[in-house]
């Protein structure tokens, strides 16, 4: 198992948060676009 | 007929929509017990859809209907126990023999098979020689007769017939007319949907004409106006 604190690993952190914003934002956008297309 | 309810069928705004088209559009109808109704109209005018809705197998998109006071949707169980339906498919299991199919008819209703009545029914429709043969060997006419035999097995206050005379030879047609006459004598309510009106008119008290899902005429057979397009 890991002994000391993991150095770095920032790229995973950034990737995770970026992905979260991308997915939530993207879904919000798709809802908006679908809402507009039906209007 | 055990049923004393004066109104056999009461429809209020009954409608059915398939995708964009209204197969039946806001149909209001009141049919008294014991009447024989001919349902006429060109192909695709909603005849079969209407009948299928009356069997409760096809819930209406809008509107309500009652058969002998039982709601088509909420009391579909009671309605089903009081009707017979003879449609284009004859609901026959081709791997089984004629007798087995009729025994199944009792089985599905949870009743013991009454072999005497089965034999009587087969005799009436002239299928005794083919009683033990699998239905797969039957011609369309013989299959229709077997389906008619099923109606013979259980008396119901309402009988729905979709194109009763198709697939039948001349002798079969006489048998159908004879059975229709007998059902009328027993006080059953009948609905016969067909597009060749010549065979049906003499049998019916009233005519319902449908066109594109809408009622264009409903009244006694006698005063059917000429210009109504059948």
């Amino acid at each position: 198992m890991m002994t000391g604190t993991i150095q770095g690993g920032y790229e995973f952190l950034v990737a995770g948060y970026a992905l979260t914003w991308f997915v939530l934002g993207g879904y919000a956008l798709s809802l908006y676009r679908r809402y507009r297309s039906i209007r | 007929m055990d049923n004393t309810d004066p109104m056999a069928i009461q429809l209020e705004g009954l409608s059915q929509r398939f995708g964009r088209t209204w197969a039946v559009n806001r149909l209001d109808l009141n049919i008294a017990t014991g009447e024989a109704i001919g349902v006429l109209g060109p192909n695709g005018s909603g005849k079969s859809t209407l009948l299928r809705m009356l069997t409760t197998l096809l819930p209406p998109t809008r509107g309500r209907g009652k058969i002998f006071g039982c709601d088509l949707v909420r009391q579909s169980g009671e309605v089903r126990r009081q009707i017979h339906w003879l449609g284009h498919d004859f609901n026959l299991y081709t791997q089984l023999t004629a007798i087995e199919n009729l025994k199944l008819f009792f089985g599905f209703q949870g009743a013991k098979a009454d072999t005497r009545l089965i034999r009587q029914a087969l005799e009436k429709v002239g299928l005794i020689p083919a009683a033990d043969k699998p239905v797969s060997a039957f011609s369309a006419g013989m299959r229709k007769r077997l389906a008619m035999a099923k109606i013979f097995l259980k008396k119901t206050p309402l009988i729905l017939l979709d194109e009763p005379h198709t697939n039948l030879d001349r002798e079969g047609r006489d048998l159908m007319n004879q059975m229709i006459a007998q059902w009328k004598k027993e006080g059953a309510t009948l609905m016969l949907a067909t597009h060749d009106h010549s065979t049906v008119l003499p049998l019916c008290d009233k005519i319902l004409v449908l066109n594109n899902g809408e009622k264009t005429y409903f009244g006694p057979t006698g005063d059917l106006p000429k210009e109504i397009e059948l």
Partner: protein, 226 residues
């Protein structure tokens, strides 16, 4: 109550009769399960110890795939011959129809279970299970679960266009707990299960079966009506 059972018996008897008279469906089901045994051995290699170790897992994979074939047909014979309306119209209750269909699926899947077990023992020369009652208990409980959910989902997808792909897509995720349970019960049954480790998984299967028998029985009404 009597008429309920008689209706279910009629549906079961009818299914049995018409499927056994026209053998080709039953044969195709059995040959399919045999074929998958061969496929797996080609895929896994014929090294005896490996196959013996993987046998429980393979067995249940083959079972689930073969069961899908049996389940997909459960309402298809009605639909194909146009008898579904008659069945729905004249049956005393749709739950009786469900019970009848459940029984016929149970019968055919049970048949596949026995056949695949025998063939696998022969082909992978496994010795017979050291704890036979546990083995058959596993088979029985799994069969109940597969038949219950399988018949329920078969009724659900019968009238939709993409029946072949929809049934496995819906059924397989639901069967995961059952798959885990039956694989372990079979594994312990083969090895004799001296420490009674299988009881945990048997409890899971019993709970699984009873929950879904009750739920499917309660919820079947709208499915067949649709």
């Amino acid at each position: 109550m009597k008429s309920f059972l008689r209706c279910a018996a009629a549906v079961f008897y009818k299914d049995l009769l018409s499927e056994l008279r026209r053998r080709e469906y039953v044969n195709s089901l059995l040959f399919f399960s045999l074929l998958t045994i061969f496929l797996f051995s080609f895929a896994m290699g014929t090294e005896p110890d490996l196959l013996r170790k993987l046998a429980p897992g393979l067995y249940w994979m083959i079972l689930i795939f073969s069961a899908t074939l049996a389940l997909e047909r459960s309402f298809f014979t009605e639909l194909d011959a146009g008898c579904l309306d008659g069945l729905l119209l004249y049956s005393t209750s749709l739950r009786a129809v469900f019970l009848g269909k459940w029984a016929s699926n149970f019968f055919f899947i049970g048949m596949v279970q026995i056949l695949v077990a025998l063939m696998m023992t022969a082909l992978y020369n496994l010795e017979s299970p050291r704890n036979p009652p546990l083995f058959f208990a596993g088979l029985l409980l799994a069969n109940i679960g597969i038949s219950t959910l399988g018949t329920f989902y078969a009724a659900l997808v019968t009238q939709s266009r993409a029946r072949q792909v929809l049934l496995p897509l819906l059924l397989f995720p639901m069967l995961i707990p059952l798959l885990l349970g039956s694989v372990y019960v079979t594994e312990y049954a083969l090895s004799g299960d001296p420490f009674h480790q299988a009881t945990l998984w048997l409890k899971l299967l019993v709970a699984y079966d009873s929950i879904f028998l009750a739920a499917c029985f309660a919820a079947i009404e709208p499915l067949l009506e649709a």
